[in-house]
Symmetry: C2
Amino acid sequence: MKNHGIPKATAKRLPLYYRYLQVLQNAGKEKVSSTELSEAVQVDSATIRRDFSYFGELGKRGYGYDVEKLINFFAVTLNEDELTNVALIGVGNLGSALLNYRFHQSNSIRVSCAFDVKEDLVGRIVDGIPVYPMEDMVEQIRLQQIEVAILTVPAQNAQPVTDELVKAGIKGIMNFTPIRLVTPSGIQVQNVDLTNELQTLIYFLHHYD
Amino acid sequence: MKNHGIPKATAKRLPLYYRYLQVLQNAGKEKVSSTELSEAVQVDSATIRRDFSYFGELGKRGYGYDVEKLINFFAVTLNEDELTNVALIGVGNLGSALLNYRFHQSNSIRVSCAFDVKEDLVGRIVDGIPVYPMEDMVEQIRLQQIEVAILTVPAQNAQPVTDELVKAGIKGIMNFTPIRLVTPSGIQVQNVDLTNELQTLIYFLHHYD
DNA sequence: CAGTGTGAAGATGTTCACAGCG
DNA sequence: CGCTGTGAACATCTTCACACTG
């Protein structure tokens, strides 16, 4: 893969910038300065300019940035110009909420299939998304050439299911379980640990200003 | 507030350590080395030792760390020894999933009340948690002395509801909306932007090894 | 002598401050 | 003149490597 030399910290902020640029565009704004954007996204203006500059000279001195130009640029960078199909594994509590979840307004991300063990779910269409039995997971993911999975299974199944996902050719996993998954290199794992986040928030509450 | 001088990066890992220490304890292990722990949590062993050392000399040279001692220590540090009540604002799609969500096994975090505008929800008990109308929010939060809120309202209501929460005396907000909330200093906001995370994952997929 | 605790080096990220361009 | 783009300083975080100790 080509690493454009973009720092990770910068990469994580790109979706944030992209969303606010869309808001600006919808509001009919044609240009924006790093200072204006800074207020909305709560990122230092120097950081914004530095972030943008990694991609070349996107702005005009004395003017700011052209909103449309920036959106078009980031749309390609963030793969918003093509559809990404995502598989959801584990239609429980959180899983079914994510089936409904609007992963983007100008959506380029779509949950296209789900998998579960529960008899009463399998074979049904939940929120417009077909739910398959776990046995069909590897086959369906291969067939549909899905590269991204959302993992919302019980903790004890997290690693075995992950092993299957890797077999099926999955390249990225959004992991909602508290387990730190073991995967071959080349597989991207994004951990979203809600308990962890909440505990961290409470820790900050008590120990920081 | 007293900032113990613990780096933020360290603070964010504490819940992770805490959880794995509990797993070890349940498995009957009495001691653990930074190398062992490193494998499970996928954090460099030197980083673990450094993290622990901020809190003093918790380990024994040539032996490792005493699991029980470490758990007791972190339980206090993470406020696991006292119950934290949390209010949930917005019982929609994601909100109702979080009502069910087990925020911890040995739970010290509990969602104790929820708020929504929807007539058919208000006054009902959902998953054992009472749902109040939005008009009662400030009053109930004051009354129950709740300091932490989970914000799962539609984007356009995020800022106005936040202003109310601040009035009610909330100190920490777990923000599931894509809006970057404006709050007075002293209020901790933890942003959990699922679309953002997924987009970042997809970006990494295409641009990093 | 195994494994912690840590000085020092290195890597990464943020912010300042301003030269220079449109 | 206003605002970008960026060198340089600073801050934070990670990792190495090893002295030291139970």
